[in-house]
Symmetry: none
Subunit: 234 residues, 4 copies
DNA sequence: AATGAATGAGTTTTCATTCAT
DNA sequence: TATGAATGAAAACTCATTCAT
């Protein structure tokens, strides 16, 4: 029922059709609840063919994860100009990220919602990809610190925390941006554009980073400079 | 045989034992992959008793979600001093949140990872709870803006975006903080303490908020004041 | 929820309450679909008490069958004046039968619909009762033949067939009479009274019997006297 | 292992095999007590195949009811010559009915004993079929009355009652005719042939009808003509 | 006289997967 | 390249029945 019936299709094409169907189905139902029957029907082929090409449900899911991960990474990478300043690189990457997730909600749902919750073969794969992104962000933040002439005030672990926070914030905004319209009292603005989402991210994080690079820290009671900074461990 | 065999236990107690087992199992396996058999065995009872008390797998999961949601909300609420300034309230809430998630990884995993991905009966329930938190944060941010004498520069939607970003960042940090030690190259500091996580959050977001309240916005190319602010739509 | 809660009731009374509940439940659901839980709840007692008094589901059903059979037989018997003519005895029995089934639809349903279809322990019990009735009718018909001075024209097997037909007809009318009102185009007469049902029976069967005693038989093509009677076998 | 193992059979054939097995099993055990396992084994296939083809136990039972109903109706219809006189039509239909039920005891048991007692999805289906038969008989009786020049003495409701009685009588005879031989004292004639059963029916009902058409009614105490007829209601 | 707590054994149903063509 | 036919294994759920009090 999914695609129009067309017999004798070359393998590469059929495989993509199957993967498309799988992405949709996994996104809608989750890994366990998605049935090979549904995927095969949506792909417009018989189940044995799915097994012939993709081997097993597990392999199918892995393949989907790999394909979607690569597509996401490619989209983000393409949006980053390697030569530019750190903040512009981050801005580019964020716009790429929000644009991609908005245009590929299925793939994003599989990566962000489904793959992470299905235990070990899959959680690991997707965690690796996320790790790459976090690392990339970490590097950008470090570079930004250097660009800004920050005098090593930012401990490595602080930067890593920042990066994790940043990535989580972006994920949250992506979800919010793409969500059903009924959210929020003011229905006037249903979703956030990719640009606005990226801008929000930059405002929050970049500004925060700027202050931190200046040595300021929030401590209970006051905003203080770095000389009075409270240790974050013991 | 998870728990020690103890016969003839009053219903209320048994129910809690079952819910404990269910939390663990759902967290480990996910909703679909968790079997009632496993839950019953872990609870140290037979399957029929689970059905007698908790009715169905769906009801069991709902009950788990409800119990864990309420516990989380209670923990966060208890950590917030209502009379204090907005930033201290936020600080308290964050510490409460990170402390709770660190001590109850199972409950947090059920809420954050499993419930959200299981389609409509459950996603809605947990979305409502998250919505409450986002709203609470939104109000705090608004209050903070007023406290700081912000002159209405922050549009409602900006604050909402900030709140979503903040919540997402906290979730991400919670996950990172509680993650398996093998993460990262420097194994020296395996996790983030609740306090450090909260501090990271405050530094990032509070500082960012401060700048934004001052009318500064990040725009491609420079950090500028509000007069040159780029539109957030189109 | 069935009866009003009243503790410490003498055994004989409790047993009847349980049997009442069982009749209702078996009538509504059938033997297999009726659950001991439902019966116990309807009886207003706990399940162990049902087992204590009635032993098992099978025994409970048997007891119900026995009680209801005896009640039916008693009702029919009471309606028959032993000294009267055969036709008046039959008339009385039929009125008793229709009256009883109309007033005890549950008991009748258990006997007629449920017990007969539940395989051997029960089908036999209820078949025995029905057999008694058929035999009683057979005797009545025989007596009637004698009363009418029938010259032995009616073979034993013909009378038995007649009796079976008569009983089946009565059962069918009983069901029709007690059925939901929406039956038939002319809703004016929703049900048949016991008297009318009995009259219909008498008209059909008695008249038929009269002719047969006269030696007339229906044969394909004509109504003929006994001299041209076609054999009923071969 | 009911049937001989025969692999790779076309669907249409397998479906009939399954339905055959289902008829037998439902007849033997009843709807609730029949297990899909038993049906599958008797059909010589695995349970999943039964579900694949027939969907669910409920659907399977419905399909059985439909198939058997249609077969019964077809058999009866085929035995009726539409152009003939009412009595000959009735005679034909009765012979067809008794012949069919004798040859298909399983199907008849499912329709007559099981389907009617299983509550609403099924009772209705089979009641509809029985209703058709009753209606057909009603029309025949009406036609017979006209043929015989009956002057409207027979009220519509009387005819309907007659029809119901007739159908019930036939059902009862069918059951008796096909019953296990051990029934009755005289084991010499185990069953009634279809022809004899039909003859018995015709004798009873046709003769009775004849008298009624003549205006005679049985009333307590005497056989009287129509002028002294007692009202049937109140 | 009566019950709250508990279960063994079975039911219907689903699903990933393979065989034969 | 492609599929109709088929199943082993396991899941959710139910129920008659008993134990301990």
């Amino acid at each position: 029922m999914g695609a129009v019936k067309s017999k004798r299709v070359p393998r590469a094409v059929r495989e993509q059709q199957m993967l498309d169907a799988a992405v949709l189905t996994f996104a809608r139902r989750g890994y366990r609840a998605a049935s090979m029957d549904e995927i095969a029907e949506l792909a417009g082929v018989s189940k044995p063919l799915v097994y012939l090409y993709l081997n097993s449900k597990e392999d199918l899911f892995s393949t989907v994860i790999r394909r979607e991960s690569e597509a996401l990474m490619a989209a983000v990478s393409a949006a980053v100009e390697p030569g530019e300043s750190a903040d512009r690189q981050l801005w580019g990457g964020l716009r790429g990220f929000f644009a991609y997730t908005a245009e590929h909600p299925g793939g994003w749902a599989v990566l962000h919602q489904q793959a992470r919750t299905q235990g070990e073969p899959f959680a690991h794969e997707v965690a690796a990809v996320r790790g790459e992104i976090v690392e990339f962000v970490t590097e950008l933040l470090g570079a930004a610190a250097k660009e800004a002439g920050c005098v090593g005030e930012l401990a490595e672990r602080e930067v890593a925390g920042l990066a994790h926070a940043l990535v989580g914030a972006a994920e949250s905004l992506a979800e919010w941006a793409n969500c059903r319209t009924d959210e929020g009292a003011s229905g006037e603005w249903a979703r956030l554009s990719a640009k606005d989402a990226a801008a929000t991210m930059m405002n929050v994080v970049w500004a925060g980073l700027g202050r931190m690079m200046g040595g300021e820290r929030w401590v209970p009671g006051e905003l203080v400079g770095h000389e009075s900074r409270s240790g974050t461990r013991g």
